[in-house]
């Protein structure tokens, strides 16, 4: 379930990029979940044609997905019993990714170079493209040859940064079939998948098809079409059938749309966050070793929120470390020492029989705790910081006096701070009445206030505040630009005196707000995606 400010933020992003109409349809989907075309028309009061166009834009840019639910239709959209209707769902995660394009570009360009980066930029800008469209775009922009473009696209697909688009209208089975299957194989309680996750799981092509790119497939298709001209007397029926089959496969290949694979990019950003967290807590050497472990185990990772990396031996890790020229001076013993440090509590790296694996959950939780504590310290003060750390670590209810004793603070100040934090949703409070008669504590009983941090609820509160803050930054930037649009419209040589000062201030404001947005987005990823 997306929070209130999450929806507002997503709608703002869509408004900025695609306009009010598309944003209206997107908001309708975000607030109401999956809807049919008729339901969207009814709720938005827009014409069916406009709604259809808005949906096409959202789907083109991977912000929405169509699907058919394989169960009987009921309610306001009831048609013939058992008739399957196409529904649409907004992809909140992909909408958030739209502010991360520069980070994604950075990842791709650093690894694969400028020309791949440029090709990738096109996919981000246009949402999804066929091979022909990619080639045409590259030809128009940088006069790249078809072969070079196809080579670059092949590199991107091989690195899993680009994938084949999901099926346009997959048939999604009811949730009962899914949960039963998973419950049988797993003895651990597993959170049920959301509708968005179920739809995307079904829509995604198989791993082979998803990352299978055949260069010059269109050329081959043309050649095949020439072969399939009225057959000569030497070609028998068998060959005709074979040609028809390969024609179909090639048509599918040629018609495949390609798009950025956000999953892989998110995984890279998660790795980057882990390395940065370790660098701050330890040193550059430890960060280098962790980075090498991530690189060595990358191929085995199958999802973004993996709890642990695959186990690696010390030799494997050392070989990966020294692959990078900058690390040639690192000795085997130095790498082992770093691993021992990382294995010390809190164990960011687990050891098991001479093999080492990264505990992503621990690193992510450490980074999240740091972020929350930083907010508490600045917002509520030092006493609140200590109270929060105490309750967070305790994980249970604690009485006011006991809290005051543990943090060495006066009871009055402690009470005041606890109430402030409770009012802002950072703590849970329970009242315990002990003794007294059944008619109330005033007849000799005493009441105690107990406090607790509910980690899950707190993360949701913080995430909602982050969305709110991100929205505010965007709105403030728009306000500043609006207030100074006259100065912006002046030609550079006409900006003098107060106008120049205003212009310089606006430039600094833009830089500050943009960098704050990027930093805040890292924090949003930490709480929402990692």
């Amino acid at each position: 379930m997306v929070s209130q400010h999450g929806i507002l933020y997503a709608v703002h992003l869509i408004t900025n990029q695609f306009g009010n109409l598309v944003a209206k349809v997107c908001e309708c989907l975000l607030r109401n979940g999956a809807l049919t075309l008729q339901a969207i028309v009814r709720r938005t009061e827009l014409s069916p044609a406009k709604v259809r166009n808005c949906l096409l834009v959202l789907i083109q840019h991977n912000c929405a997905q169509a699907f058919i639910l394989e169960e009987s239709v009921s309610g306001e959209d009831a048609g013939e019993p058992g008739k399957a209707l196409t529904q649409y769902i907004a992809l909140f995660v992909n909408i958030l990714h739209r502010v991360r394009f520069s980070k994604f570009m950075d990842v791709v360009s650093k690894e694969l170079g400028g020309s791949c980066g440029e090709l990738f930029r096109g996919l981000l800008e246009h949402g999804r493209l066929t091979v022909k469209q990619i080639v045409d775009r590259a030809g128009a922009n940088a006069k790249e040859s078809t072969n070079t473009v196809q080579e670059d696209l092949g590199k991107l697909v091989m690195a899993h940064y680009v994938e084949c688009c999901p099926a346009p209208e997959p048939l999604v089975p009811p949730p009962d079939a899914d949960t039963k299957k998973r419950a049988k194989s797993s003895k651990v309680m597993v959170e049920p998948l959301t509708l968005e996750q179920r739809v995307m799981a079904v829509a995604m092509p198989s791993a082979m098809r998803r990352f299978s790119f055949v260069p010059n497939a269109d050329q081959v298709a043309d050649d095949q079409q020439n072969v399939n001209q009225p057959p000569s007397k030497d070609v028998g029926e068998k060959r005709k059938l074979h040609d028809l089959e390969s024609d179909t496969a090639l048509e599918e290949e040629v018609e495949c749309n390609w798009r950025a694979n956000f999953e892989e990019l998110l995984r890279r950003l998660r790795h980057k966050t882990c390395v940065d967290t370790i660098k701050v807590r330890f040193d550059d050497a430890a960060a280098t070793v962790l980075s090498a472990m991530l690189e060595a185990s990358r191929a085995e990772e199958d999802k973004v929120k993996t709890a642990n990396s695959v186990p690696l031996s010390l030799n494997t890790i050392y070989e990966e470390v020294v692959k990078n020229e900058k690390n040639h001076s690192m000795t085997f013993d130095h790498v082992r020492t770093c691993l021992e440090e990382l294995s010390c509590p809190p164990t960011f790296v687990k050891t098991d029989d001479e093999s080492y694996s990264i505990d992503f959950t621990k690193i992510t939780e450490a980074a999240q705790s740091e972020e929350i504590e930083s907010i508490v310290l600045k917002r509520f003060g030092e006493t609140a910081y200590k109270i929060f750390r105490l309750l967070f670590r305790a994980g249970c209810l604690m009485e006011t006096d006991k809290i005051a004793d543990r943090i060495f603070a006066e009871k009055k100040e402690t009470s005041k701070t606890l109430f402030k934090m409770w009012q802002d949703g950072y703590l849970l409070m329970e009242k315990l009445v002990v003794g007294g008669t059944t008619t109330g504590p005033s007849y000799g009983g005493s009441s105690y206030l107990l406090w607790k941090v509910n980690k899950r609820l707190l993360r949701e509160t913080i995430l909602d505040e982050m969305f709110h803050a991100a929205l505010n930054l965007n709105l403030r930037l728009a306000h500043e630009i609006d207030q100074n649009k006259e100065v912006l419209n002046l030609p550079p040589d006409k900006r003098e005196g107060p106008d120049k000062q205003k212009f310089d201030r606006l430039r600094n404001v833009r830089l500050l707000i943009h960098s704050s947005l990027m930093k805040l987005d890292d924090a949003i990823m930490l709480f929402h995606d990692f």
Binding site: P346, R379, F408, M466, R476, S516
Partner: protein, 202 residues
């Protein structure tokens, strides 16, 4: 534990004025004394001068005679403990206790639970880390699974001892007390926010 003034009045069945006068007279003759209840300073407790009040009333080693938290003393003990842990790199509660017993630095009779409270406070201050020994590396001398304390290395650049300013905390909305009332077109909004105004003053 002494006796609360209200309880004295109730049990003696005497008028308030008489009880108050008697209390003053007994105090003047040095037969009873007033003891501050740290848990509730409004409740006056009295006891015979020969008795020592229990720590439940006085608060123990961390409170002065007036029932106030002895902040200076607590900070001194914390500082000393932190220095010892930094010297040792990793220390258990027993090690710290032993060091202070042999050195005799503090005149006050500090027991094991006092040092446990101090070490707990250092953890909450983010000066030390509470960890469980894994018997390897710097924990080699400590049995596996034993709780020990490790100081953060302030020499390292960006070490965790100083709480880092996170993304949210570095912008006005992250620490705003009015964020819940803030809406795009409301009285409190990003366009009219005074905190934003200050933040964007160059």
């Amino acid at each position: 534990m002494g006796m609360w003034l209200r309880d004295i009045k109730r049990r003696s069945n005497l008028q308030d004025a008489i009880v108050n006068k008697s209390i003053i007279s007994l105090q003047a003759k040095n037969m009873i004394k007033e003891v501050v209840n740290v848990k509730n300073k409004g409740k006056k407790h009295y006891m015979a001068v020969e008795f020592e009040p229990s720590t439940e009333l006085t608060g123990g080693a961390w409170y002065d005679d007036d029932g106030n938290l002895h902040v200076e003393f607590i900070n001194i003990v914390k500082k000393c403990c932190l220095q010892k842990i930094k010297q040792l790199k990793v220390a258990t509660l027993e090690t710290v206790l032993q060091l202070f017993k042999t050195s005799g630095v503090f005149k006050a009779d500090l027991k094991e639970h006092h040092f446990e409270e101090i070490l707990g406070a250092l953890v909450l201050d983010n000066e030390v880390m509470e960890v469980k020994s894994n018997g390897m590396g710097e924990f080699g001398a400590i049995p596996e699974g034993k709780v020990c304390y490790k100081a953060f290395d302030k020499q390292r650049v960006g070490a965790a001892a100083e709480p880092r300013i996170g993304a949210m905390a570095s912008m006005p909305c992250g620490v705003c007390p009015r964020i819940r009332s803030c809406t795009p077109d409301g009285v409190v909004s990003p366009s009219t926010c005074v905190y934003f105004q200050k933040w964007l003053e160059f």
